[in-house]
Amino acid sequence: MASPAATSLSGAGAREPLDLYGRPPWRRRAADRAGWAACLLALALMGAPLVSVLWGVVGRALPGWRWDVLWQPATSQGGGLGSEILGTLVIVAGVVVVAGTVGIGSGIFLSEYASGMAGSVLRAGSEVLAGIPSIVLGYVGYLALVIGLHWQFSLGAALLTLSVLTAPYIAKSTEAALRQVPTSYREGADALGMAPLHAMRRITLKAALPGVVTGLLIAVAIAIGETAPLLYTAGFTDNLPSLRWAHNPVGYLTYAVWTFYNQPSNVFQDLSFDAALVLVVMVLVLIAVSRAVVARAGRHAERN
């Protein structure tokens, strides 16, 4: 029994000892190598699609890129994406206002007041709402707002549907950021006799601002990128957005991708890829901004 160990001790070139399970060491080394190789392969497999997506969009859109795509309105012969870009910006602005109000308010309540059973019910409800498929939200928006309230395809229906979808992200981000604010800040504000609303605005929320802004940026990214909730609430139009709450459809970028990509005409396919490129650039800019916000907050925290 002890002979393998003895021989391995006896000098160079001898066999190495078996491990506790009686396996030769080369098998363990092989398993190590194979394991890490598989993991590296997984990393490569994860990276390939992203590179391929970005390359596919940029490589198709850039060669024929015209800057006037950004402001020319769409026509039956092609034209540009001006009204879609403006429509997306209007929708995003509305979502920031509506979902921002609800989401930040909700986050404050969840962090400062909600405890025990009520808190976990509210929190679970909000998180589960974010998991409801966006097409289901869009369909309900269609049934309840477009048909039910006779708003027809409109900015209002689109805004409310998207806000329901995005508010939970803002709430979660706000709540997490507020929980990071030290209790001593709140106690200090109390001790100075500040009114709660005032203390929240000037002290607590101010300290949590980077988290709140990150949540808003996530909501903006979703509002820019979603299609399913808008298809049957915003409708679509080539005209510039009218800013009316009801009865006027709005054009938006993702619709251009979705509706032009399988048209026979190359002009429209090009527009589809142009719209995709604009969307990707918007998302990249948002990610850069949110990273900058977080980095800035980190520097401030270190200095304090």
Binding site: I135, Y139, V140
Partner: protein, 371 residues
């Protein structure tokens, strides 16, 4: 500095004075009492608490409202379709040229049949492919990044996952329809279909390989979209594995790989399962990307994994236009029933994910799509 000035102090006679001026008819003390009460109300935090509480109720009310609206709209369809909705394969909105028929109080086109079995199976099947592919890839990638690569690389991976999570689903659809799908039809599908052994069990993987629009393509595109949720959660979990058990294992002579496999992964297991369920919910509900690569094949199950199919979400998007043209409105109700089924399926996956992780304790799952 105006800062100190802005803090409202308890003694501020001006407020009382104005209130006294405003409240004309009553005696003096009444005006003062109203002003004091208003000020006390503001100072008690009731305002902040009430307003934010109302905001916090909005998501819960919205969730209940969504399910209620769907159920109310779908009810006649639920009654008419019965259990056949889950077992029938045929999907036929009926003839719009004949006279509408009334069955059990619901007006619908003659010969309307709504069998959602292919939709439900397509939803579950494409999501299953997505999870089977995405989870091992995500866990493996997170493992090598956390345990082996330098922290700078881990940072790059974070950026990478953010971009992947942020890319709109129509862009994935565009990529799937015009570059990835054709690639699969040209290279991957024929290769696999030719080499799968000729066994009856594996018939689903053999045969005609189609044009790239189908179950396999949709599943793989969904896998790409699920990866950010699972990978980012797994990375966060692996970073939180306590150092002591890992060092102990290493002191016992285990290698890096064995420590990862026997200590880190088991520690993170329930969180990874939770994140996978969350990714599953995301895949089940994904609409645009699937609608663009599925081939939108209604009315039958695909005969193999490469052929066109459809999901509940993709059907709602592709069929709502025709549903508008149904004068009886019954098609819209049938789609509402499909949407209700989808909502319930994703709800179950979401709640299961959160319960599982709550039981494991301590780890927060990301909201929705994990960004």
């Amino acid at each position: 500095m105006p800062k100190a000035q802005r803090i409202p102090m308890a003694r501020q006679p001006s407020a009382v004075a104005t209130a006294k001026g405003q409240v004309q008819p009553g005696p003096k003390w009444a005006g003062r009492a109203v002003a004091t009460a208003a000020r006390n109300l503001a100072r008690s935090g009731w305002l902040l608490r009430g307003a934010t509480g109302a905001a916090a109720l909005v998501p819960v009310v919205a969730l209940a409202g969504i399910l209620a609206v769907l159920a109310e709209r779908a009810w006649p369809a639920i009654v008419y379709n019965g259990l056949g909705f889950f077992t029938h394969v045929a999907w036929d909105p009926g003839s719009s040229y004949g006279n509408p028929v009334r069955t059990g109080g619901a007006l619908h086109q003659a010969g309307a049949t709504f069998g959602a079995l292919p939709l439900i199976l397509g939803t579950l099947g494409s999501s299953a492919i997505a999870i089977v592919v995405a989870v091992p890839v995500s866990v493996g990638a997170a493992l090598v990044v956390v345990e082996k690569l330098p922290p700078r690389m881990a940072n790059v991976l974070g950026l990478f996952l953010e971009v992947l999570a942020g890319i709109p689903s129509v862009v994935f659809g565009l990529w799937g329809a015009l570059s990835f799908g054709p690639l699969i039809a040209r290279d991957l599908a024929p290769l696999v279909a030719r080499h799968v052994p000729d066994l009856p069990v594996l018939n689903f993987f053999r045969g005609s390989t189609g044009n790239g629009e189908g179950l396999l393509t949709a599943g793989l595109v969904l896998a790409v979209m699920v990866v950010p949720i699972v990978a980012s959660t797994t990375r966060d979990l692996l970073r939180q594995v306590p150092a002591l058990p890992k060092e102990g294992a290493r002191a016992l002579g285990l290698s890096d790989w064995e420590v990862s496999r026997l200590v880190s992964l088991p520690w993170a297991r329930s969180g990874i399962i939770g994140a996978s369920l969350l990714g599953l919910a995301r895949a089940l509900g994904e609409t645009m990307a699937v609608a663009m690569v599925s081939g939108a094949f209604l009315g039958a199950n695909p005969s193999n994994i490469y052929l066109p199919f459809t999901t509940i979400a993709a059907t709602i998007v592709s069929q709502l236009d025709s549903a508008f043209t149904d004068g009886t409105g019954f098609y819209v109700r049938a789609l509402a029933e499909a949407a209700l089924v989808l909502a319930v399926i994703t709800l179950v996956a979401n709640v299961a994910a959160r319960l599982l992780v709550r039981k494991a304790g301590g780890v927060a799952l990301p909201v929705g799509r994990g960004i």
